[in-house]
Symmetry: C3
Subunit: 427 residues, 3 copies
Amino acid sequence: MKKYGNIMYRWAQDLWPICRSLTGEGVRITLNYIQNLLPELVIHDVPTGTKAFDWEVPLEWNITDAYIADEFNTRIIDFQKNNLHIVGYSIPVDKWMYLEELEQYLFSLPQYPDAIPYVTSYYKKRWGFCLSQQQRKQLTNQNYHVVINSSLKHGVLNYGELIIPGRSKQEIFLSTYICHPSMANNELSGPVVTTALAQWLEGLGNLRYTYRIIFIPETIGSIVYLSRHLSTLKKNCIAGFVITCVGDDRAYSYMPSRHGHTLADRAAKHVLKYHTANYDTYSFLERGSDERQYCSPGVDLPVCSIMRSKYGEYPEYHTSLDDLKLVTSEGLQGGFDVLSKALMLIENNAYYKTKCLCEPQLGKRGLYPTLSQKRDKDIYDMMNILAYADGEKDLIEIAEITKQNALDCLPIIEKLIHAGLLEEIKY
Amino acid sequence: MKKYGNIMYRWAQDLWPICRSLTGEGVRITLNYIQNLLPELVIHDVPTGTKAFDWEVPLEWNITDAYIADEFNTRIIDFQKNNLHIVGYSIPVDKWMYLEELEQYLFSLPQYPDAIPYVTSYYKKRWGFCLSQQQRKQLTNQNYHVVINSSLKHGVLNYGELIIPGRSKQEIFLSTYICHPSMANNELSGPVVTTALAQWLEGLGNLRYTYRIIFIPETIGSIVYLSRHLSTLKKNCIAGFVITCVGDDRAYSYMPSRHGHTLADRAAKHVLKYHTANYDTYSFLERGSDERQYCSPGVDLPVCSIMRSKYGEYPEYHTSLDDLKLVTSEGLQGGFDVLSKALMLIENNAYYKTKCLCEPQLGKRGLYPTLSQKRDKDIYDMMNILAYADGEKDLIEIAEITKQNALDCLPIIEKLIHAGLLEEIKY
Amino acid sequence: MKKYGNIMYRWAQDLWPICRSLTGEGVRITLNYIQNLLPELVIHDVPTGTKAFDWEVPLEWNITDAYIADEFNTRIIDFQKNNLHIVGYSIPVDKWMYLEELEQYLFSLPQYPDAIPYVTSYYKKRWGFCLSQQQRKQLTNQNYHVVINSSLKHGVLNYGELIIPGRSKQEIFLSTYICHPSMANNELSGPVVTTALAQWLEGLGNLRYTYRIIFIPETIGSIVYLSRHLSTLKKNCIAGFVITCVGDDRAYSYMPSRHGHTLADRAAKHVLKYHTANYDTYSFLERGSDERQYCSPGVDLPVCSIMRSKYGEYPEYHTSLDDLKLVTSEGLQGGFDVLSKALMLIENNAYYKTKCLCEPQLGKRGLYPTLSQKRDKDIYDMMNILAYADGEKDLIEIAEITKQNALDCLPIIEKLIHAGLLEEIKY
């Protein structure tokens, strides 16, 4: 596997301080950074008010500064120190208020006293500050100056789209999101691993499938994207992955598609089984990212997720503790490895059929020992591929039945095709 | 749930002393009593000798008195005290005989010394007395006077039939039996719970389905009924239940249809799972009531049973100990509750489909919190219904997949339909 | 079950000393011996060089003598004492060589010091001696005289074929092999049990199916046979068994067909379940005999194996310890019994359907007790057959569902057909 861990980690460091949200300058800076790494990336603008199924693109939100200052004008809570301090999509405010009144605008987590929570209010006009329980306890009953320099205006929603063409019009779809402020596993791991996968795919060249890779704001972004590309995706997409939470090094996990039987699911489960001693399988009832849209009734794209520690399932999730200590170079590399294996498997997955009736005489081709003694596992693996290559099973099914890693079957299959004993069947 | 427990128990007390059998006055008195509660009930006569598939209606049996008296004319065993004392369908007899000869006509249960067993001989002319092992031990080697004042004559087989019309010609079928003498769980619980269900259904009004409810003698009654209505039932019946053993308060149990996959089975299992912490699942190999006919090859109606303690599986079964101490008001209410829930579920079971692509924006309809914090279970339940309402799954399947009680889904579905987000699909 | 154990054991004793291989005089002597027991057996010749799919018939190998003698001309290793001493298909040799040079031509098993291993080299010209580790240790560094009087010449491959005609053109296929020298479970048990089955089938007369029984060299023999009869077998064969390793008395085992769902598999598993308290189920991944050809993609005959201790799974396998102490009269009888039961089951397996709607009135036919008391298991078994005989299930499925031994159902089914209550459905 290509070593992308360190470079991915550096990208995450660069992207860390940017204040992203559904819309706004932070998203554009992030997409420009990625475009620098993937020059073919196209950045799209979708105007506020554009309809997308049951939704419409919201006002664009931008923020330059925000703080709570005490009577001596000392900033007690400061957006410049951590962009999580502000409730996402907060409207502008400039007011003095006593602690008692301020309380209703404050969000903290008693059970995690050091953590600043991540809170948003995209669709109802509101403002608020997030702070750690520690910070909150230090507030006293005085008059505070509350300032948010934000704007909510007609503007655009941005997303990035990269098409890497392959020999076939059939597509593999990768979707990641760029709408969270400074959080690492549940945000930056997604775009940096996706960027690395895109670079790796471009480097491979001569791809069988076309790759459609998008960097979108979660939920509204996938809904907008689907509203523009649904018929193409339904026609061409054979497998896809929502890439999220692929940066810590504590677990591997899998979120199925709605029915759990797509090619993406089969590849994900096969690859995970051979990649790690154990991984967590979640139910679609525990979904929470853009598979909510991609797998919704009538959309039904073959999309699932391969993750490290799943969103909602680790204590640092959606707080300031989901940071670049939690995400590591090794964690990101693991996310890259398992996803690249899944893509490699789908690229090479095919229906194979033996070309002769009965077992071929492997001995005369130098593929079988001439002395009748204990055969080694390699011989059995090859014989088993031939035994199940009946044109009705794809590589993943053959590998599952014969208890082999499908990726390890690839050189054997190549050898058998070369020897004229096996052929790929096109359906 | 409507409280019918006490009234059902009183009906059972009223019906207790009547000597019922396949045919005869006891059956008619019982049906008249029920007709008084359900005025639309039609009581049918089927003459002796009428053919029904492989069977024919037997002679009508009536009995006025029977006893074994000792040499001093003291009644030792007396039909007037307990109608179980006489073997059902006993021919008349009036003889003196010594104990030695009498023994072959006596039936008792050594393992239950206080219990009078229930024995019948419908299809071979015979007579006999049933008594407790205690009573039997007190018989001495003297001359006994054995009298059975019974008659076996050309007459009729009676059954009751109630049709409660609904908006659809499709039918729900309820069948219970009225052919056992004084026994409570394995007899009276069936007709009294069925009567209560019929009253409840009539009270609901505006029913979707038509309800066909019959009170028949077991086996010959269901065979006769099927011989007259099979084509209608096969065309219209979408689900049915044999209602038997629904009166004690010790267990819940389920007897599947022959293949176990009908709508009735699915509703029964779903309702039982949420109604009780655990219930006993029997195999169709352990069948014993009219599902033997309803599920026979070529008949194949979608009929199963939801019971309290199943026939044949409790020690008092088919003895005088199956009495109105065993059956309780609470037990009957539990039987009523679980069956009425199953009927309610079938009434409301339908195929649903979301009306927009992707998740709808619930927030703008006040159905979703505007602040991105922990959602409660209600929100997830609603989202999960929307996620699986793809027009290919009925409510029971959606509820099973999303791990909800389908009956709890009904108000959510109503809300979603009202909001224009969901529709029922007719097939 | 017919007692064939002792006679099978005597046949095995007679066949023991013969030096069999893929081809040659030993195979012909063996087939002639079997022809003596089965006069209708036809012995076929297939010339060297005949093409069969990816293979061709090899040169015919014969051997008259072979030994390693010391400087005093004393035979240290002597083919006359045990034909396993020579590597199968060894080319002729007559040389003096020191132990150091000889070593590369010697095969022994350090882990089984008393066992002479069985080694062959059919498709690469080679020579070699097999000996026990004990014998090997006694060799000293002297000059040995190595002699193999063998020939490898244009000749024939022989196999035996017996067709026992039945009322139907549909066939049951039995295949066993006659290509191993003196080994008992993994060779002689196969042909002797197959011979006994053939005699038994001939004795039964009036068979429903035609039986095709072949005695072939393993691998090349089945490939040659398939190359001549594939279309007939694919058209007519409804079930088959590779008969091998059916002679020891330590275990029963089952090797499925490639997909494991054929009639042969279903019969094998049903019969084994009732024949023995437990048996070993292997995976097709552990295959090793002619099912490798019969179940290969495109051939796909419904063939599996019922065995005693499976090849490769017992310590004596492919050594001189697999002898007539390991195989016993009782072991062979067990192999015969379970295979003859499987054949009997397939002969009698059919789709049955009840002839009346609802349960028939068994009482009037004397098939049901007239008094309503505890029924015995026989009655339930009969009722259960009637309940599941819907014309869509064959006997094996009915027996599996109703938890009965299908062979025990046969007299019940006969009784029901005789009573006009059941009929066989032809598809």
